[in-house]
Structures are given as structure tokens and as C-alpha cells.
Amino acid sequence: MITLKINGQQKNWDGDPDLSLLWFLRDEIGLTGTKYGCGQALCGACTVIVDKQAIRACITSVSDVVDREVTTIEGLHPTGDHAVQKAWRQLNVPQCGFCQVGQIMQAAALLMDNPKPNHDQIREAMAGNICRCGCYQRIENAVHLASTGV
């Protein structure tokens, strides 16, 4: 039996300890905000925050995050009004929106680490998150906006 702490709640798992955190979140406990996009840490759609660091849930096993604080989009902010989320809405960032949860989690982690990232730091930190619709210009502007106050 593995016990995980997800968005402040304890979740138990007695299945395969190598199951990826992504499928545990999505299929086993119904936290579908975290998305599957590639399964190989290539696209960032499954980004969640573990102990203040953005990680790719698709290549992280449930046993890797025992005793660590896992934050998903559902737990990022109690009313969904994190500065990053507000900036995303203010600039109408999404198109299809599928990658945006991963983008938002990555951006939130970036701002925890570096509250005032510059243009290059934003692009560097966000480079692991693919958006096939191509919302990059707005993503960059939204991270900047979130860091300067919405």
C-alpha cells in the first residue's frame, strides 16, 4: 500500500507501484485536469508540481512521489484565481486549451522559483511545454503579466 499526498489529501494505492503518476491521477482518482500528451516527458501536458518543482507526471511513478507534496491544477488555487490563471484569462491565451493546464503549472512553478523572469527566462522555462495551436506569444505575455501583477 502506497499513500500519496495530492492537493493536501491522502490517497491510497495498492496496485502497481510503477504506475505513472499521470494515470493514477487521471484514471484512478479522477483528477483529469492533468493531461496526457506524449508519455515521454516531451510535451509537458502532464506537468504537476511536486515540492515546488514542475515535473512530468507521465514519467514519474507513484512510488517516486511518496512523502512529497503533489499539486495538480485542481489544487493550484482554491478558487482558480492564481496570478497565472488570471493572466491566462486576461490575455485569452488558450485556443483548444488541452496543453494549457500543463503550461499554467509550469508557469506557476517558474514564478515560485523566479518571481520576475525576463523574456529569455520565460522562454527557457516554458520550452518543454508544447502547444500545437501555437499560443506561445500569449503564453509568454501572460507569464510576464502574472509576474508583474494582474
Binding site: 515521454q40 516527458a41 516531451l42 509537458g44 518543482q53 514542475a54 515535473i55 512530468r56 507526471a57 514519467i59 514519474t60 517516486d64 509550469q106 525576463n118 523574456h119 529569455d120 527566462q121 522562454r123 527557457e124 522555462a125 516554458m126 520550452a127 518543454g128 511545454n129 505575455n141 503579466l145
Partner: protein, 87 residues
């Protein structure tokens, strides 16, 4: 909100340098692999195929018609549809 394009062009170039430095750091330290924000391996470049390709060797097979009458009808209907309506 938008910086001038000249300033962006300059900073974009410096981001290229920064990124390379960052990639080097990512390889020398050993955080959990899941923290990597980029693919660990450098993807192979897509080199365009040369103009002097060898001549065709494959036989021109054009597919096998579906034997299922329902599917055959679906195919015909769709063919009709795309011929007239396009996408």
C-alpha cells in the same frame, strides 16, 4: 505590452545562448528525470532528402478494395461526398 521588435530580436539571440548553457547544466546535474523541461536526448535533425534519390523500386500497389458491402457503400458515399463537397 509588446517590446519593440528590434529589442526582441536581440534578446531572442541571447536566449539561444542561454538555452545552450542551460542544457549543459541539465546534463551535468542529476535531478529526477521528470523535472527536465526538455527532451533529454537531442532529436535528430530532419535532413531534407537529396534530389538524386535512387529510382523507384516499389511496385505501385493501390490498395485492396474492401470486401464488406457496408463498408464498400460507405467508401463510395464518402468518395462521392469529397468529390463534390471537398473537405
Amino acid at each position: 505590452m509588446k517590446p519593440s521588435s528590434t529589442a526582441l530580436a536581440v534578446s531572442l539571440l541571447s536566449s539561444v545562448l542561454l538555452l545552450n548553457a542551460q542544457a549543459a547544466i541539465a546534463q551535468t546535474t542529476s535531478p529526477p528525470s521528470a523535472t527536465a523541461t526538455r527532451p533529454a536526448t537531442t532529436p535528430p535533425g530532419q535532413t531534407s532528402l537529396p534530389n538524386e534519390s535512387p529510382p523507384a523500386t516499389t511496385t505501385q500497389t493501390t490498395g485492396e478494395a474492401s470486401r464488406d458491402p457496408v463498408v464498400k457503400k460507405m467508401n463510395e458515399d464518402e468518395k462521392q461526398k469529397v468529390d463534390t463537397k471537398g473537405k
